[in-house]
């Protein structure tokens, strides 16, 4: 209520009138009214914003620490429309490992555009969204870095460690942007945030190599300042930073020209990959989990194989829980679950799990016959990782012998076949499972880098530097663990779910371990080990084989599924997503489109 109202109530006016019937008194009344009408009420418009906080209020030590948490929070804030934690839409669907799934090509059409490449375009809103979301992560890290750097060590003893964590997080978001879009604007905390300042930074201001160096520098700083072990397990550690640094350097080592062609492989960088992997390995902090399944079961989150994991939670005071929304479409269409049948393993991928008589992968012939079409998993022999990865009709779903996966659980089997992906899902009876109609997901943590990746990155660096012999035991460690991981792959009658037969590489016994062979083995091993985990496409681009690999894949796969009829990978274009037309427009010409688009 305005203050004036209390001062000049109408009743006052009436009294005046009663007592004054002359024109003289009228003057007072007029003065009153004038006073009301012209009264200065500047303060009347000063309304305080409700329920918000200004940036000045964030500079306390406790709020600064809270802003570090806000940066971490972005790690797991992906969504099915921009799944940057699981990366399946970008790295799986585009790799020949998976089909989109769901209710036909029009259901989340943006991913159909990804999968077919030929339909992809610069107005794909999922591309625009993931770009934005990842820059939100960068911005949160930068905001917190500014606050942390403004603190004194005395007032804020955790300063260096937090700075390391934030640069680790920023490195992570930039790494994802880099592998998706290649040419990206680099913005760090040294640039004061404003529309004008940020808008002036071009995505081609830095070369691809300079961008990699910047990302690597963030991880280097993190590795130098982070402790080996954190009491709060969600925080980045020295090992995580070293592993991510190795990953960054590995990508940087494959030098690309401005047409995305791989022109050389930098041996010095590969040596650094090797040494950083060694640091992780020699820390003795990490081991492979005993069973491959442990990586994909909720109870084994933050296990010794987890180098860096995104932490999810439920019953945590948020409306739906901070769960894995990025994978929320990947569950079967049955009464135990109910939606939405996305992320379907391709026939090609399932065939790749076939093993030869020696228990080794069939590098060149695996796809000559289609096991999915026959549905017979007893005649051929298989790598056990098949049944950890793909949901197959007649096989227990997610290790539950009482819940046999049925072809009818697929959303649109006529388009996408009967299979589904399983690494990201959980049993419906698991405490981590949660529903938010019409979708569902879990609070199972998601491993961004697991120890197997460190081993295979090191093996890759070794093979590419001519040290294939040193790589062999690393690859075999990964295979040995896979071989051992059959305990959960049993049917209700106790028999193995599929006909497993697998072996490690035994040079001279079951193979000839040349450099070329080792390279085949390494590439194949990465596919089998990390299938459906979201990074396959980026491996193909890094190795410079994406165009040939995918067009060969389409040639056969389009005879198996109608939705790939028009799929074509355009070399020197499709290695990276186009910069969204929106961003090009907003930048007013500062951004340049990627080659080929």
């Amino acid at each position: 209520m305005p203050i004036l109202f209390r001062l000049y109530q109408p009743s006052v006016l009436i009294c005046h009138y009663k007592n004054s019937k002359t024109m003289k008194n009228l003057k007072y009344i007029m003065a009153f009214m004038l006073c009301i009408i012209t009264a200065s009420c500047k303060k009347y418009l000063d309304t305080t914003p409700q329920g918000v906080i200004s940036s000045a209020d964030l500079t306390s030590a406790s709020n600064t620490d809270a802003m570090v948490i806000a940066a971490y929070s972005k790690l797991g804030e992906d969504y099915y429309y921009y799944p940057y934690a699981g990366m399946w839409a970008y790295g799986s669907l585009r790799s020949g490992d998976a089909y989109k799934g769901g209710g036909g090509p029009g259901d989340v059409m943006e991913y159909n555009e990804y999968e077919t490449f030929s339909l992809n375009n610069n107005t794909n809103t999922s591309s625009d969204q993931v770009w934005y979301q990842l820059y939100v992560g960068v911005a949160r890290a930068n905001t917190a870095l500014t606050l942390v750097e403004g603190q004194s060590l005395a007032n804020y003893p955790q300063k260096m460690e937090r700075e390391g964590e934030l640069r680790f997080l920023r490195g992570h978001f930039y790494f994802l942007l880099k592998i998706l879009f290649n040419h990206i604007p680099w913005i760090d905390e040294t640039l004061q945030k404003s529309q004008a300042n940020y808008g002036a930074v071009s995505n081609v201001a830095l070369t691809s190599d300079q961008l990699w160096t910047n990302i690597a520098n963030d991880f280097k700083f993190a590795a130098a300042n982070l402790p080996v072990t954190q009491t709060q397990v969600g925080r980045a550690t020295k090992g995580a930073a070293q592993a991510y640094l190795a990953k960054t350097l590995l990508y940087q080592a494959y030098k690309q020209d401005d047409k995305n062609d791989v022109t050389s492989i930098d041996q010095t960088l590969l040596a650094q990959v090797n040494s950083n992997c060694d640091s992780v390995i020699n820390s003795d902090k990490y081991t492979l989990d005993a069973d491959f399944a442990d990586n994909f079961l909720p109870q084994d989150g933050n296990s010794s194989e987890s180098v860096f994991s995104i932490q999810y939670s439920k019953n945590d005071g948020t409306p739906l829980g901070r769960v894995d929304f990025g994978h929320c479409l990947d569950y079967p269409m049955n009464v135990q679950y109910g939606c939405c049948g996305f992320h379907v393993p391709s026939d090609n991928l399932v065939n790749s799990f076939k093993t030869d008589a020696n228990g080794l992968p069939e590098f060149t012939t695996f796809n000559d016959t289609d096991v999915v079409a026959t549905g017979n998993y007893q005649t051929d022999t298989f790598d056990p990782r098949l049944d950890h990865t793909a949901a197959i009709p007649g096989h227990p779903y997610k290790y539950q012998t009482g819940l046999i996966y049925d072809a009818s659980w697929a959303r649109d089997p006529q388009t996408y076949g009967p299979l589904l992906s399983m690494k990201e899902t959980v049993a419906y009876t698991d405490p981590s499972f949660t529903r938010f109609e019409p979708f569902m997901s879990s609070s199972k943590d998601w491993e961004v880098i697991r120890y197997a990746d460190v081993l295979l990155m090191k093996a890759e660096a070794l093979i590419q530097t001519g040290q294939e012999q040193a790589a062999l035991p690393l690859i075999n460690m990964v295979r040995q663990r896979a071989m051992n991981s059959t305990a959960l792959l049993v049917q209700a009658n106790g028999k193995p779910t599929s006909n497993y037969h697998m072996d490690i590489y035994r040079p001279g016994v079951n193979c000839t371990w040349t450099n070329a062979y080792a390279w085949q083995a390494l590439m194949f091993e990465r596919r089998l080990e990390f299938a459906m985990e979201g990074y396959r496409f980026f491996d193909l681009v890094r190795w410079g084989i994406a165009a040939d690999y995918l067009n060969s894949y389409f040639a056969v796969e389009k005879t198996r599924t109608p939705h790939l009829a028009g799929a074509v990978f355009t070399k020197n274009r499709d290695e990276y997503l186009p910069i969204s037309q929106n961003q090009l427009n907003f930048s007013k010409g500062v951004y340049k489109q990627n080659p080929g688009w």
């Binding site: 939670s313 945590d316 109910g338």
Partner: protein, 1039 residues
């Protein structure tokens, strides 16, 4: 409708004796509300003596018995009166009539007579809509006000969108409502229709500027009924209606759905995506099996076999469910209003209660509304001080159902699904179907969730006449509105959809708006010059707060148990608030010379808390002039058919401030977690401890970048109008042309992503122009002895044009964002691909431009740029959804005690995006859904004339893209209302009754639409709540 009528009643006072000579005769002239009429010319025909009435309506004139006095007043037929012997003190009353130019029109803080208006103001004839049982008076105005369009679906409590003179801004285009002088942005849903005395629509800026910063989209002024002097009256109105739908889609039945599925598979195998690896259509989607000839070149389906059960567990028997019939019903709507009023010379009071109960045509939907109103005023000191109040209270109860989901689901849920399982559970989707819930379950499981809304809205005022004609008025108004909503989500299983959890929750909010107005008015008459002065000040403060909470783990799934205290897990609470303030000063001068030359000047200064300190205040000026040509002798003498003719021109500026309250500040918010099923999380909580549950650490999220330079957006509008009356005002009408230019439109455009969260910033950055024409024409007259007719029609059209947008935001609007943009076009432009037809031969497929997914029976898109490739560059502007013109025609016929009224309303031109076509023309865009019957007529090599693309299950050709295929003519003509009433007064002659009539009425009875529009109702093109036909029987009674 009242007929045009001039009525004179003469009250003769006894005179002393008889005089043969001239003598002084005095008297008073007043209107039928006992208000004295100044300026009435009194003329003695025989002697040519003349005088005018003074401000108290009094006159004296010399006249002799047998001479004739003529009383003339603008807008009325002259009254002739023979002086009789006994004539001495005369009392002349002009009775008001429908097209009465002396009708008082509320124009903002003050009122004017219609003849003096210089702005574009529409006075709604409330009688026309009084008996239309819409539950929201605004809905009944569709088509009755030139330039005004009302968008509403058929839901009992659904949102109503009102647009005056097209699209003014990119922001909120809702008009400002003024209820009994108090501005409010709540519409009329909560007002008892029977309480409304008058509705006036200020269409142009010269009229609306007095409301300044919130008036850019027009102003609608509502005045509620007051008691009248010298009356005691009881009004009772009752009506009961039956509602049913007649605009429905034709979904497939179970057999037809199987047939369409088979046809799609045959097509896919023969010439579609499966041609390389046919899938045998003897079985499809795990449910249907077929007997057919297995001849792909001439396929014949003998039989669609439907299994006994559709699920493996044999809980759901195959059905043939018509889901729309299952969710809809013929429903009853009741409306009762009782008003008692009385008035003396010094006090008036009115009390009314209303009850409105609308049971929706979707089961369990509805709106129950209780209204009470108390309006009083008292005069003191011989009328120099008037104190009054208006007070209304509303209580509404509305079940909260997901009605848009329910209506959509009723079209897409598979017909083979039974409503219930064999053991009484819910039917639902099985393998091969979409994850669509059973709409009957949604109704049943949500019916207990009721929102209660309460509002007390009123004002108290004192009007004090300081000296003669100088009034000071102060008004204080309070508007308290709040919602209370408690809900229960029940556990369920429906096919493969299920949720075992039970949730309970509640939310409450309240909003308080306080308004305090002070104003001075002064009326001054100097000879033929009449001045009205207004100076005023207004303070408005608004505060809103909400709270909501929910919990899980209830022991009983029962709404009477489902209170938050009974929740045992996952208890969450949230709340928020906002506030804003407005401080305004305004003044207005109206001037009239000899009823001939009119002028008005307005200035308002508004300050708003929503704007930056630098730009907090703005001035809104307006000026208008009018010229009553009909008062000029050259018109009077040369064109006697012209009874009234007025030219007017107005210019003014109005504003819009409807943006977020804190737009001038850069802010962070503590958002813990906010994910919803259909949007991701942007909170800051993180399980840094890796415990997987429990309270998490969290931080703050940037929510916006402040812009301290923000200011109003300004609409500058010019209006040229003419009002006319012909043949003693039997024909009346007006024509307005306007030009409206809105600049500095407040936009919060999408921004460069690298800014991250909170990069959104409001700024003044777009311009838009509307130009339009509006005309209305009325005729009222007697066409036979007992037969009178009244016809009122209006037609209006406008063109919208975006004149400026920052280049960076162009991608957010129709066009490609670079070479083809919405600049220079209507904001409602449609942009997309052009459909040329469908491929009907292999040669055509072969020879056409490269188009991913092209094939026989597929849509052929036009290669607009001729580069031989169909891609995003082959799009263009296809038209606009703006109609060419809209119109309304109301006709009333009265014969003896009968009256018949019918009202047509229509829209001509404009394209409508018919999203129903996804379902009616395609089996591939929603492959797991049910479809419309049009798919049965789709193209096949055998049915080669069809324009519906061949059925397929795989949309390889991307046919859901925005294209001309979905744009259809939006023209329609509706018989909005037809009413037949019978006046019972003659029957009740013996009883003292003022008014008694019964009527039958129907709304939305007939719709005419273009044959090219394939959906049910172009007025309601999305999958919204259908607009029902309402047939009503009612009674009006006044004692």
């Amino acid at each position: 409708m009242r007929k045009l009528l001039l009525f004179c009643s003469l009250l003769v006072m006894l005179a002393g004796g008889a005089y043969a000579q001239s003598r002084v005769i005095s008297g008073t002239v007043s209107d039928d509300k006992s208000q004295p009429l100044p300026g009435v010319t009194v003329f003695v025909l025989e002697t040519k003596k003349a005088t005018v009435t003074d401000i108290y309506g009094k006159f004296t004139i010399e006249a002799a018995t047998g001479q004739t006095l003529r009383f003339s007043y603008v807008g009325y037929q002259p009254v002739l009166l023979k002086v009789k012997n006994e004539s001495k003190n005369l009392n002349i009353i002009f009775k008001e009539s429908a097209n009465d130019l002396n009708e008082v029109v509320v124009t903002g803080y003050t009122s004017e007579k219609k003849k003096d208006l210089t702005g574009a103001v529409t006075v709604v004839n409330v009688n026309d809509i009084k008996d239309v049982p819409e539950g929201n008076a605004i809905k009944a105005l569709q088509g009755r006000v030139p330039g005004m369009t009302v968008y509403a679906d058929g839901s009992p409590n659904g949102a109503v969108t009102v647009r005056l003179r097209g699209t003014t801004t990119l922001n909120d285009n809702d008009p400002l409502y003024i209820i009994d002088g108090i501005p409010t942005q709540r519409g009329l849903q909560e007002i008892n229709q029977d309480d409304i005395e008058s509705i006036q629509v200020l269409r142009d800026a010269s009229a609306a500027t007095i409301y300044g910063s919130r008036a850019a989209a027009g102003v609608i002024i509502i005045t509620t009924k007051k008691g009248k002097a010298g009356t005691q009256r009881i009004d009772f109105d009752a009506s009961t209606s039956l509602q049913y739908y007649n605009s429905k889609l034709q979904p497939l039945d179970a057999q037809q759905h199987g047939q369409a599925y088979w046809q799609a598979q045959v097509n896919d195998d023969e010439f579609g995506p499966d041609a390389g690896s046919p899938i045998d259509p003897s079985v499809s989607n795990g449910i249907y099996t077929y007997n057919w000839n297995h001849n792909y070149t001439n396929p014949v389906l003998y039989n669609v076999n439907i299994p006994e059960y559709i699920d493996a567990a044999h809980t759901m028997k195959a059905a043939n469910t018509n889901w729309f019939n299952e969710i809809s019903q013929t429903s009853v709507l009741q409306n009762y209003a009782l008003t008692v009023s009385s008035g003396t010379e010094n006090s008036h009071s009115l009390f009314s209660i209303g009850y409105y109960d609308d049971i929706g045509i979707i089961k369990q939907t509805g709106d129950t509304k209780y209204n009470a109103r108390y309006n009083t005023d008292y005069s003191f000191f011989k009328g120099r001080l008037k104190i009054g109040e208006t007070l209304s209270a509303t209580y509404m109860k509305d079940p909260v159902l997901p009605t848009s989901s329910i209506t959509l689901l009723s079209l897409i849920e598979n017909p083979i699904i039974p409503v219930h399982t064999v053991d009484g559970g819910w039917g639902g989707p099985v393998a091969g179907m979409d994850d669509r819930d059973n709409p009957v379950r949604l109704i049943d499981d949500n019916q207990q969730n009721v929102n209660a809304f309460g509002r007390v809205f009123g004002n108290a005022y004192a009007d004090f006449e300081i000296i003669s004609n100088l009034h000071f008025k102060t008004t204080y108004a309070g508007d308290f509105a709040g919602n209370y909503y408690r809900w229960l989500q029940l556990p369920y299983v429906a096919g493969f959809l299920s949720n075992p959890a039970t949730y309970a929750g509640q939310s409450t909010d309240y909003e308080v708006t306080e308004t305090w107005q002070n104003q001075l008015t002064y009326d001054l008459t100097i000879k033929k010059n009449v001045f009205n002065f207004l100076a005023g000040e207004e303070n408005i403060k608004d505060k809103y707060q909400n709270f909501n909470a929910q919990g899980q783990g209830l022991a009983l799934a029962n709404i009477d148990y489902a209170y938050l205290s009974e929740a045992t897990s996952n208890i969450l609470a949230a709340g928020g608030g906002s506030s804003d303030a407005l401080l305004s000063y305004f003044g207005k001068i109206n001037y009239a010379y000899n009823d001939k030359y009119l002028a008005s000047v307005t200035l308002r200064r508004d300050g708003s808390s929503k704007f930056g300190a630098d730009n907090r205040y703005a001035y809104f000026p307006a000026a208008s002039v009018g010229w009553r040509l009909s008062e000029e002798d050259f018109v009077k003498n040369n064109a006697p058919v012209i009874s009234d003719l007025k030219l007017r021109f107005g210019w003014g500026q109005t504003g819009n401030q409807n943006i977020a309250n804190n737009a001038t500040y850069s802010l962070y918010q503590s958002i813990y977690g906010n994910a919803a099923p259909f949007s991701g999380d942007s909170g800051t909580a993180y399980d840094i401890n890796g415990t997987g549950s429990g309270t998490l650490l969290s931080g703050f999220t940037a929510i916006q970048t402040g812009n301290p330079k923000l200011k109003w957006e300004t609409t500058t509008q010019s209006d040229l109008g003419v009002d006319f009356g012909l043949f003693n005002n039997k024909f009346t009408g007006s024509i307005d042309a306007y030009y409206k230019n809105t600049t500095n439109i407040l936009i919060s455009p999408p921004y460069l992503a690298v800014l991250g969260e909170g990069g959104n910033e409001y700024y003044n950055g777009a311009s838009m122009v509307d130009r339009g024409l509006e005309a209305s024409l009325g005729y009222g007259g007697k066409i036979a002895h007992d037969l009178t007719i009244n016809i009122n029609g209006n037609v209006s059209g406008y063109k919208n044009k975006v004149t400026y947008l920052p280049s960076a935001v162009l991608t957010g609007y129709p066009g490609n964002g670079t070479t083809e943009t919405v600049l220079g076009r209507s904001i409602n432009s449609e942009y997309g691909y052009v459909v040329q037809g469908i491929f009907t031969s292999a040669a055509e497929v072969q020879n056409s431009a490269a188009q991913p997914g092209k094939g026989l029976g597929r849509i052929r898109y036009e290669d607009l740029n001729g580069d031989g490739v169909i891609n995003a560059d082959d799009q263009k502007f296809l038209g606009t959804s703006d109609p060419n013109f809209t119109y309304g025609l109301n006709t009333s016929l009265a014969y003896k005690n009968f009256s018949l009224t019918f009202f047509f309303q229509g829209v001509q031109g404009g394209l409508v995006y018919n999203s129903y076509k996804y379902l009616t023309d395609f089996t591939s865009l929603a492959p797991g859904s049910n479809w419309g019957t049009r798919v049965l007529d789709a193209w096949t090599p055998q049915n080669s004339k069809s324009t519906i693309p061949a059925l397929t299950l795989i949309d390889a050709n991307n046919e859901g893209r925005y294209s001309s295929y979905f744009l259809e003519p939006g023209s329609y003509l509706k018989l909005r209302n037809i009413q037949l009433a019978y006046n019972l007064k003659s029957i009740f002659k013996k009883i003292k009754i003022q008014r008694a009539s019964v009527y039958i009425q129907a709304s939305n009875l007939l719709t005419f639409k273009s044959s090219l529009y394939t959906g049910p109702d172009p007025e309601n093109p999305s999958n919204a709540y259908p607009i029902p036909v309402i047939s009503t029987i009612g009674l009006n009674l006044s004692l």
